[in-house]
Amino acid sequence: MLSGILNSLAALMPAAEAGGDLLHPPKGAMLMLAVPVLTLVGVLACTICAVARVRTKLPAWISVACLAGAFGCVLATFLGYEGPRHAVGFEWIHLQWGGETPRGGGQVPIRALHANFGLYVDTLTLLWMLFVTGLATLIALYASEYMAGDVRTAGYSRFFVAFNLFVFSMSCLVMADNLLLLYLGWEGVGLCSYLLIGYFYKKPSAVAAAKKAFIVNRIGDLGLALGIMLIFVKFGTVEYATLLADSKFQGFLAAATAGDFASIPWDIQLIPALLMIGAFGKSAQFPLYVWLPDAMEGPTPVSALIHAATMVTAGVFLIARTFWVFQVSEYALPIVAWIGAITALLAATIGMAQFDIKRIMAYSTVSQLGYMFAGLGVMTSVGAAFHVFTHAFFKALLFLACGAVMHGFAGQLDLRKLSGVQKMPGWRIVGVTMLVGCLNLAGFPLLAGFWSKDMILAQAFAEPGYSAVGWVLLLTAGLTAYYTFRVYFRVFVGPQHFEPGDEVHGHDDAHGHGDHGHAHAEPAHDGHGHGDHAGHAHGSGGGQHGFHPHPPGWAINLVLVVLAIGAFAIIPLNFIGEHAGHGGWAADMVHHSTAGPLPAGAGHAAEGHGGGHAEHGTFLGMDPHKVMYYVSGVVGIVGIGIAFVLHLAGRTEAARSRADGLLPALGPIPGWAQHKWYVDEFYDFLIRTPLWVAAHLFHLVDKLIVDGLVNLFGFIPRALGKAIRPSQSGVLHGYALAMAGGVAFLLLIVLMAAL
């Protein structure tokens, strides 16, 4: 192993002496190796807690400590960042074959597969790792309180084992210096996602959701695996640096830049298509998005970390990391752009018609991921990465706020059964932070989400030929603002009312909050029509078993506040650095990585701002980079305004709002949207039903033909035995007679023959 490190060090030496560039980073950034190590320590420690039957919050504190340590390492590396660095943990896979001379003459070429456990640390890696480890730390802290109900079971340790394993896998995925290690992390996060969605493994719907997530992801993973294999077959390497610096690859890239796609072989153009399928699966893009909304069956911290903020951005990361590879195909990026736009619109329309607030947030995640893909597709990897970064903050915030509501109201997530939560005692922080998250998601002017979304929108109009994508995204922006504030106006403000969910048991004992013993004079009621007693401290609660909502404790509130402050704190980042106003810090981070513009010589700027395009699209005749701020701001505010009119103004009860009056005018469309446009049913019909029928047919063949043949061979001796069994009388004389008769008979034959 040591020699391997020395070898790779020697291989890197020339580059190191030359000062190093993007593709030949010098060695260093050893601190980043501490991230996977620390998270693995977390996994081991929590496993020991599980084995030793620790029934305290110890696993949570271990996890928070390990993840905070990992975040500290990333932060230290970021602050001391001087340029791309390469850190080799150990020699992982070193295979070599070929070289022998066959009898026919000639020589089999020597081929080798090298994949180290090596980290490639550039600004893109750091951008991702900063929010992955930072959010993981905060959400682990949040989970320490959120999962407290399970602290007396083995589940608490199990949760944190999977949680740490997830961060380990994610760090492998993001920091890998080769596609094989990325694939390891890719599968690792998929596994952890499966384990955590199925955390409540006694609940059939959670198990089904876990299986669905795993299987749908498998379809995408197949694409990624094939893509990696094709890269290896074509270029003989899986390492980014070797691949991107490969002279053959540079040749293709130059041809693509010159617009000469016909000279690039089809199998090279197939590579981005295969990688894309992997990205669509992991990042929940149409048509593989169906697993993500169901993934909300997992505990809310998991939804926030894995299924909103970090793991689902892995697809965006993959495309950003291999952005140059995507440019050798004529169709790859347009497909990414259109799939992103379609997903954004589709998910937004579904989100508008849902009632489960966590599910609405899930669809908004799918929709925002669509934005990111559209951003990649229209060549603004900066916009996509910036949106990933801001989205990570406000989406984690939104999910954690929804989780706090769910936690406090015994699993209630139906926005028709909750209202005015913000005014209830102890819920102010949740309400205010939720408002911050909603404003960001809706793209309210001057907030972080506004700037990042705006970059994608502007670039969609600026890039020639993509204005249709731009219009779809603009429409989606309006819809997003509407459905986001539909949640806020229905659940957090308005008349106070609540009905607890079905998880009433146990919670009161587990938390012991102050206001027990409070007499509940309200009679049990049907939940409708009593909701307008504004001013009642507890609204007209469901009254079953004297249920009281319990407001979140310090850990949840602290995390919410930190995230809300973070969502504001990242705004100035847009206005620093060499790209101030156009992504700022995040743009600088992306520009100095492999997701940035093509290297000098290729003569093509990946960014629209670079002026590489001869033609420049417009928005209704105006420069999109200048007017889009106002347009998207207005669209966002209009969406919020519509939500205000329909869901808050004049609303007197929780279950009904003015929007209900509009539904008949829309005919069956809201029903279709509520049923998710029947996509699941369509997949069921298209894939599951034929498989089911085929399985039953094969079962019949197996039963009748295969088993039948075997059973026939078993049946013949048995029937024969049954036929001649009566000859065995059991009487001694019978046997003796038969024997004597037989001897006599044989004797007769012998004598006859002799004569």
Partner: protein, 115 residues
Amino acid sequence: MMHLLAQANPPAPMHAVTLGHYLFVSAAMFAIGLIGFVSRRNLIIMFLCTELMFQAAGIALIAFSRFHLNHTGETFVIFVLTVAAAEAAMALALVVLLFRRRESLSGEEWASMKG
């Protein structure tokens, strides 16, 4: 067959006892034993019949032994007699045990190995 019988001996006097006589006795004894074994039901009688068949074979062996002037057959018969003595003791003991079980000596009582 006559040629075979005449082969080893000088011209025999008339009415002399020849190999054929011995073999006839042996065959007759064997047939009697076989018929007795098949037709009688008494276990002791059946056992005696088997002894009869046994000794019939022994007579044939000795007759051929004498005929070929070879002592192997006689030696063999001595061994057979020894074994037969032991076997008779055991068989009679078994018969006694079987009788105790069913209070009957009939061989037909024992037919539980029916297929």
